[in-house]
Assembly symmetry: C2
Homo-oligomer: 201 residues x 2
DNA sequence: TATTTTTCTTATCTTTTGTTAACGTTTTGA
DNA sequence: TCAAAACGTTAACAAAAGATAAGAAAAATA
């Protein structure tokens, strides 16, 4: 994928949140950075401050924590999703988790200083504030749903819901990653899968 | 608490996010609504669209879901915190949960239309966009931490952390509310408490 | 004040989940 | 291509959690 295509993908996806006319786009453009990571490389790692919010234009990433030497997967992001260690990015404190590519992945990203500069811009500042707000609101809702599922649903219900809605995740992601995404162990997920198979068979 | 005190509390708390000069404050003021609910009244209930985002200036609320006739507590909010059924407020779709006062509670709130109007305002629009963004980012981080705790910590670890950090919650809130806040049953929390007592005794 | 109601703990029993290990299969990478 | 690593399932056992019920203490309220 060439640079132009990547940037166009960003502009296209941005429309989900705000529309940018040509002048606004030209003002934003100089701040966009294109980068690529190979499979299993880290977008961010614990102890480092996350300096970028990035749109995935190709590929996918996984956020995970390490506890007692074990990797615990928090979530996945695919094409046309923003990814960042938001807390680290927003608070300027070191990340506590990894974000790692699941495959060769291309990003269009904004670094922290660029974002702050853009917010202060005469021409596009207000629209970018709105852009930032809408992104935050979007992911706030995602997290709200996630917390709700943890307190109101059993792991089996969460998995069934994922079967209905989570198409891409289920195809491309190893099951033990999905397991701790659901808050359970791989062994436990395997048992749930067997139960479901028996019922539907 | 009189109206003036309530409004001043709002202005004071808003400083956490953005500073408002007198002109800006005067522009915002007409949109603020003051309301009071008695203990156990609903701020929002399932099936209704949440039309307000509200700062609690006195009192506290509890968000809960009802599943199979059981109340499942999602979180609590106290003085100087914003509360809303964010997903419903932002998406204009019916709420799936209750937000109910735990005691007589006074709110300073903005309704949805007022918020949209303010965002479009010539004088304060940009600053309000920023205000909205910072609030969303703040609660995004809260939810991020909450999800992390669900996937990386045991219920007992979550409770211990709450013991360290959650001062107010522990004093004012019945334990069975705290239990499902932690994602467990009241009986289970009671057992955890006994385990902790034995260790520390 | 008296009487409900709510709250918390405890006990028992059942179910679920975690832990560890083994095994075959698939994927990866040298 | 071939050895090593990763993956998913299953089994056996231990630990934890859920469900239910009972009882005492505290709080609400009539």
């Amino acid at each position: 994928m060439d640079t132009l295509t990547a940037l166009n993908k960003f502009r296209e996806h941005a429309k989900t949140f705000v529309s940018l006319d040509d002048a606004e786009w030209q003002a934003l453009l100089p701040h966009l950075e294109i980068s690529t990571l190979k499979k299993k490389e880290n977008f961010i790692e614990p102890g480092k401050i996350c300096n970028h919010i990035a749109l995935i234009v190709k590929g996918s990433v996984r956020l995970f924590h390490v506890k007692d030497g074990e990797e615990i997967t928090g979530y996945f992001c695919f094409e046309n999703e923003f990814t960042s260690s938001y807390k680290s990015f927003l608070t300027r404190k070191p990340s506590t988790s990894y974000i790692q590519t699941l495959e060769d992945t291309r990003f269009v990203s904004l670094n922290y200083n660029a974002v702050q500069q853009i917010y202060g811009d005469e021409l596009i500042g207000k629209k970018m504030e709105r852009f930032g707000r809408l992104i935050a609101e979007h992911y706030l809702i995602c997290y709200e749903d996630r917390v709700t599922s943890f307190i109101t649903q059993t792991p089996e219900e969460r998995y069934n819901k994922l079967l209905e809605t989570g198409g891409e995740v289920l195809q491309r992601i190893p099951q033990h990653y999905i397991a701790n995404f659901l808050g359970i162990t791989p062994v436990s997920l395997s048992r749930i899968r067997r139960r479901i198979m028996r019922i539907s068979a």
